[in-house]
């Protein structure tokens, strides 16, 4: 008699902190009603459809303080986290160069995955620092990061040319940071609910 766990986790990751309990409660209430009327499978399908359709709206709002001071503070924190994320990547690259004598040891794929893991970890750190707007801020920060590389290339800046696949690979940072922030929020809310 419980909604699908993964869908619940997605709601927990996407909903604003102040409204998570109410959104999850409303979904749970309707889920039980549909289950009694049309069966468990129909209720599961309904819950999944609601979750997927609700995510963009849930990410679009927040009841937190919207003062210019807080917005500037959040932007500065996000920028600092992006710098730290880049610094860690560079440190790993430097360490690889020192140990293996070649920064590209292991091939480009490994570096891609190291970059994504770095983004997941720093997405979670960002979510911790800018609570309660974690996933939203992580999403915008990652888009800013990707644009920092794409805009000079599109503008024809020398030294910024890269094949299209490189931009596609780089844009994987956007979902990676959102996954990190979402995981942090979902785990935190599970712990709070269990208490």
């Amino acid at each position: 008699m419980r909604p699908p766990a993964l869908a619940q986790a997605l709601v927990a990751a996407a909903a604003p902190e102040s409204d998570y309990e109410m959104v999850a409660g409303d979904l749970h209430e309707e889920y039980l009603r549909i289950m009694y009327q049309r069966g468990a499978k129909a209720a599961d399908r309904w819950y999944w459809a609601q979750t997927v359709l609700s995510i963009p709206s849930l990410l679009s709002y927040s009841r937190s303080n919207r003062s210019p001071r807080r917005r500037i503070g959040v932007a500065l924190i996000a920028f600092a986290v992006l710098l730290a994320m880049a610094a860690v990547l560079m440190a790993i690259e430097l360490a690889a160069q020192t140990v293996f004598g070649n920064a590209n040891a292991g091939g480009g794929r490994i570096w891609l995955w190291i970059m994504y893991i770095d983004a997941v970890v720093f997405g979670a750190i960002l979510a911790r620092l800018v609570r309660p707007d974690g996933v939203r801020v992580a999403f915008y920060a990652a888009i800013f990061l990707v644009l920092c590389f794409v805009v000079p290339a599109v503008a024809g800046h020398p030294g910024s040319q890269a094949p299209l696949c490189a931009w596609i690979e780089l844009s994987g940072v956007i979902p990676a940071m959102c996954i990190g922030a979402g995981l942090y929020q979902a785990i935190r809310r599970r712990i709070n609910t269990a208490r």
């Binding site: 419980r2 996407a14 909903a15 409204d19 309990e21 109410m22 959104v23 999850a24 409660g25 409303d26 979904l27 749970h28 209430e29 309707e30 039980l32 609601q50 359709l53 609700s54 995510i55 963009p56 709206s57 849930l58 679009s60 709002y61 009841r63």
Partner: protein, 110 residues
């Protein structure tokens, strides 16, 4: 009315539904009533996001109720329409009436 204070189409629907349901309406109830009255099935997230926007515009106010077992032990956020919300609805209705004035839908062809 300032530009940012006009009601969007879905905001209009949600505000009218909260008014129909009376004080204490909450997300699941509002979503079910929208489905019953209009035939459209909005996402729960869209309903909550719209309610938050209406609250920010001071057209509705909210308070948190007690957690109940049928909601998995989770609380409800109840809503009621404020005086500014009634004014916004009156304004939207007058605007729609003016738009419809002199237009015959019977003679119109698609």
């Amino acid at each position: 009315m300032a530009k940012g204070e006009y009601l969007g189409e879905f905001e209009h629907v949600v505000l009218l539904i909260v008014l129909r349901l009376g004080d204490g309406a909450y997300g699941a109830m509002i979503r079910a009533e929208i489905e019953r009255v209009t035939g459209r099935s909005p996402a729960m997230g869209a309903v909550h996001a719209t309610l938050e926007r209406l609250e920010r515009k001071r057209l509705v106010s909210s308070w948190i109720g007690e957690p109940t077992a049928e909601r998995g032990g989770k609380a409800k956020r109840h809503f009621k329409v404020e005086a500014d919300g009634i004014s916004a609805l009156k304004h939207a209705r007058r605007a729609l009436e003016r738009l419809h004035a002199g237009v015959s839908l019977r003679d119109a062809t698609a």
